[in-house]
Assembly symmetry: C2
Homo-oligomer: 168 residues x 2
C-alpha cells in the first residue's frame, strides 16, 4: 500500500550511479577514439560559473552516500574529493555503490519522520526524513547526475537516454 | 513508518514544476534585458541531437501529468505540444500543476503494486506502480527538468540551484 524509505532511496541511488558509471566509461572510450585528452571532458562545464564534470560526479555521489547515512543515523563517509581521472571517478562511484549496499531496509525504514539536521546553502536546517529525501537529496542528486550527462553530450559523446536511465 | 505513493509523486512534481516556472520567467526577463529574441532560448539545445528547450519542458510536464494519472487509473490528459512562447510554456506548466491538484492521496495511494502499461522506447512494457514511479517517471522527469535549466545556464541566464529546487 505504501513504499518504504529504503525503496525510495537506496535502490534508486544505486541504479542511477551504475548507469553514471556506464556514461563515464562511454566518455572515456570516446576520448580515446577521438584522441581527446580525457582532461578536456573532466574539466568541461556548461557555463563558466557552473561546476565541471568531475565536481558534478563528486556532488552526485555526495548526495547518494549522504542521504541513506543520515536517514539511518550513521556517520556520512568522508571522501577526499581528489579524483583526477575517469578511473578515479569510477572508483568513487563504485565505493558509493558499495556503501549503499551496506544498508538494509531495516536501517532506513521508518526514517520518514526522523529529524535530519544538515547544512543547506550555508544555513543549518532541520527537516523530516521524507522531506529531506524527496525535496532535497533526490532533486540535488538528479541535478548533478543529469548535468554530468549533459556536459558529455554537449561535448559530442554519443550517449542516449537509455544509458542515463540504466535501462541498457 | 513508510511514505505514500501520493507523497512520492504529486507534491514532488508540483514543487519542481513551480520552480521550473520561475526558471522560465527568469529566462524570459533575461532575454528582454539582453535584447535577445526569446526564440533563441526556446530553440536552444546542448547538442544537435538533443531536444531544444521547448521540447524539454513539454516532456517534463508529460511525465508529471502522466505518472499520477496512470497510477490513479485515469486517462492521461492530451496536450497539443504547440507551445511557441515562454507564455505558452508557463501556461502548460500551470495546467499541469492544476491537473496535479485534482488528485487526492486516496487516488494514488496503494498504487505501488498496480500494474502499469506504457510505451517505453517504442516497446510496450508492463511494470509495477512503484517501479514505474521511481525508476521511469522520476528519472525522466528530472532529466528533462535539469536539461531545461542547463540549456538556459549555458545561454547565460543568471540562475542558481535554489531557483531550480524551488527553495526560493
Amino acid at each position: 500500500m505504501t513504499i518504504s524509505m529504503y525503496e525510495a532511496s537506496v535502490p534508486v541511488f544505486s541504479a542511477r550511479l551504475k548507469a553514471l558509471s556506464n556514461v563515464l566509461a562511454a566518455a572515456e572510450q570516446n576520448a580515446l577514439d577521438r584522441k581527446i585528452d580525457p582532461q578536456v571532458f573532466l574539466t568541461a562545464r556548461l557555463a563558466p560559473d557552473m561546476f565541471a564534470l568531475t565536481r558534478q560526479v563528486q556532488i552526485a555521489t555526495d548526495h547518494a552516500k549522504g542521504a541513506p547515512s543520515r536517514l539511518a543515523g550513521r556517520e556520512v563517509p568522508k571522501y577526499e574529493d581528489n579524483e583526477a581521472s575517469f578511473a578515479d571517478l569510477e572508483a568513487r562511484i563504485a565505493k558509493t555503490v558499495a556503501h549503499l549496499a551496506t544498508f538494509s531496509a531495516a536501517d532506513i525504514d521508518g526514517s520518514d519522520d526522523k529529524m535530519i539536521e544538515l547544512k543547506l546553502g550555508g544555513r543549518e536546517i532541520t527537516l523530516g526524513g521524507m522531506q529531506y529525501l524527496l525535496h532535497v537529496a533526490m532533486p540535488n542528486f538528479y541535478f548533478h547526475l543529469t548535468t554530468a550527462y549533459d556536459i558529455l553530450r554537449h561535448n559530442g559523446v554519443p550517449l542516449g537516454k537509455a544509458t542515463f536511465l540504466g535501462s541498457r
